[in-house]
């Protein structure tokens, strides 16, 4: 799968412009030029960047285009008490949504919070947890995977059995149980700060076997390559070979896996919050909003906007991840 980075034969494209001096290009540059030509993947990448910018500048965006995310708007001019405080006003097929220039995505039924600002702020929670959880599982998984693959023997057996054990755990049930039985304060954190930390830990910690499995497989085949023998014969020891010789060659699969795990974790966090064991109201989270929306099947806008936010985020990451895989691994071209 992965071509060694330090291969001495550079891949030189024959169709390079004759005027330019022929120079070797690194695997990263080749991949980047391939990725740039993949319009679909680049669109995904741009959307991902926009989402990150949106999350970081949420307070400014909301100041410009919305109302504070936790502010109630229970004015009878906005909510209709005769309909159980559903928002007044239709927009296309979003009946009783209250969508207007003032409230771009309409209002929440009952307490009338601005749905637009809550969706914008939801990006913060979603991306923060998904990113950090992914980083955690990739760190644990890549380290253990490369160790298992390189050293083999009882080390490999031990790590592989641990992977099997983790994979036999019903992850969602476990995550729910651990987050659900959480005390109000622990480890010097409280409220949603504690919940965010816990979600990152649980999602990240239980996902490491997936990346470890991939990295281990790659490491197993890399171990037999000539350049490892060369390093050994030059007197290099285990840790040096693992971290300086093997890890750079595993960057491609790890990178691909990372981009494709982030959307899974976005879905995971949203799922937990949807079930009511993740982020708690009033902090805005997409899953939490959808959970609330199941009580209002007659106002579709309430489920549509947070749901679309999840969909767009996950789709963008998937598109970019797929493109990245194709770019880094030309053999796997689908």
């Amino acid at each position: 799968m992965a071509t060694p980075v330090d291969t001495s034969v550079s891949e030189v494209r024959t169709d390079a412009a004759p005027a330019k001096a022929i120079e070797g290009r690194s695997l990263g540059r080749i991949a980047w030029s391939r990725l740039k030509r993949d319009k679909v993947a680049m669109t995904g990448g741009v959307v991902v960047l926009l989402l990150i910018v949106m999350a970081i500048f949420a307070p400014f965006i909301v100041k410009l285009l919305g109302h504070p995310p936790n502010e109630f708007h229970q004015d009878t001019a906005l909510l209709d008490p005769s309909l159980g405080n559903l928002p007044r006003g239709d927009f296309l097929f979003f009946t009783n949504s209250g969508i207007s220039g003032d409230f771009l995505f309409g209002l929440e039924p009952l307490n009338g919070r601005d749905l637009f600002s809550r969706v914008v702020y939801g990006a913060q929670i979603s991306l923060l947890i998904a990113f950090l959880a992914t980083v955690l599982s990739v760190l644990i998984g890549a380290t253990l995977g490369v160790i298992a693959g390189f050293f083999g023997g009882w080390v490999d057996t031990l790590i592989s059995r641990a992977m099997d054990l983790f994979l036999a755990f019903p992850l969602l049930v476990f995550a729910m149980a651990i987050v659900g039985v959480l005390p109000d304060t622990a480890f010097g954190l409280s409220g949603n700060g504690l919940r965010i930390a816990m979600l990152i830990f649980v999602i990240g910690f239980f996902n490491w076997p997936y990346v470890a499995r991939i990295v281990r497989g790659q490491a197993l085949s890399l171990r037999e390559r000539e350049f490892i023998d060369a390093a050994r014969s030059l007197g290099a020891r285990g840790p040096y070979i693992v971290f300086r010789e093997m890890l750079p060659n595993l960057i491609a699969p790890i990178l691909i896996y990372t981009t494709l795990t982030i959307p899974t974790n976005v879905l995971f966090e949203a799922g937990l919050s949807f079930l009511g064991v993740g982020i708690q109201a009033p902090t805005a989270s997409w899953g939490g909003m959808l959970g609330k929306a199941t009580e209002y099947y007659n106002v579709p806008h309430f489920m549509f906007f947070p749901g679309m936010a999840i969909f767009v985020t996950v789709l963008a990451f998937n598109l970019f991840g797929d493109g990245l895989r194709d770019a880094l691994d030309p053999k796997g071209r689908r």
Partner: protein, 339 residues
Amino acid sequence: MVNYIIRRLFGGAIMLFAVSIATFLIFFGLPRLAGATPESFAARYVGPRATAEVQAQAAEKLGLNDPLYEQYGRWVKAIFVGADYDYGPAVEHCPAPCFGYSFITKRPVFDDLLDRLPVTASLALGAAVIWLLAGVATGVLSALRRGSLFDRFAMGTALAGVSLPIFFTGTLALSIFSYGRPFDWTARGSSYTPITEDPGMWAYNLILPWITLAFLYAAAYARNTRAGMLETMGEDYIRTARAKGLRERTVVVKHGLRGALTPIITIFGLDLGLLLGGAVLTETTFSLQGIGKFTIEAINKGDFPRIMGVTMLAAFFIVIANLVVDLLYAVVDPRVRLS
């Protein structure tokens, strides 16, 4: 072959044993580190309003003061011989196989699980049939007509499908097809009829959950099948088969699909095993009273015996699924020989 099965069964049992220890440590050991006392555990049984004395007595009678390994030993023993829970006011009997006794529902956990299993099984198996057929068929057609309009449309839909959470598509589907925005065709949430009572109603009530759930899985299966088919159809043995003058249909189905199916069987087994242990999100979305809903209730009430029981059941399904998958491998893929 028999040897292999026995060895795998043994391995599975060890795996369940390890899972049970880990689960026990997390739910009975970790809370202690976080400051829970035997009395606060006992309070779950006799109620938080009971006097400190009653709680202390119950803790003693239920053996919550004993070291963890003794408590774990009792928990395992109960699975084989049953147990009596004497918590002060009364003695509750829990016959074998006793996976704990819930003092909130006042029932043995195992009985509750058996009650809920048919709902989850109906949901999971029904959806599995749909997604396997739809996903594999779409994947094969896409691979055979690579680059065609059908292929691009199918793969676009599939990519959207793997990016959608069930609790969004499910709520949207309910709103559109059940709650009159604009249709009122399918059953609303929390509708379930046992198949033994009325098979027609059973299917009618489950059709929307089935399709919604199956869509998400079918999307992933279509993508995987397509990739697998493209790979196997490029293999040398396919060229050989064509050179032998076999009909294209035989080449595709008997040679191509068979090779592409192996990885599909792996994920199918694991997906189904996971779902049987509780389709938490789907059951919550459609308010179906299955294992998943049971888990949520248990967690919201902090009912550790129920959480333990459901974790073990889910792990059991995963272990069994793994075993079945490995056996099926040998049947489907002639290159695999079990030893």
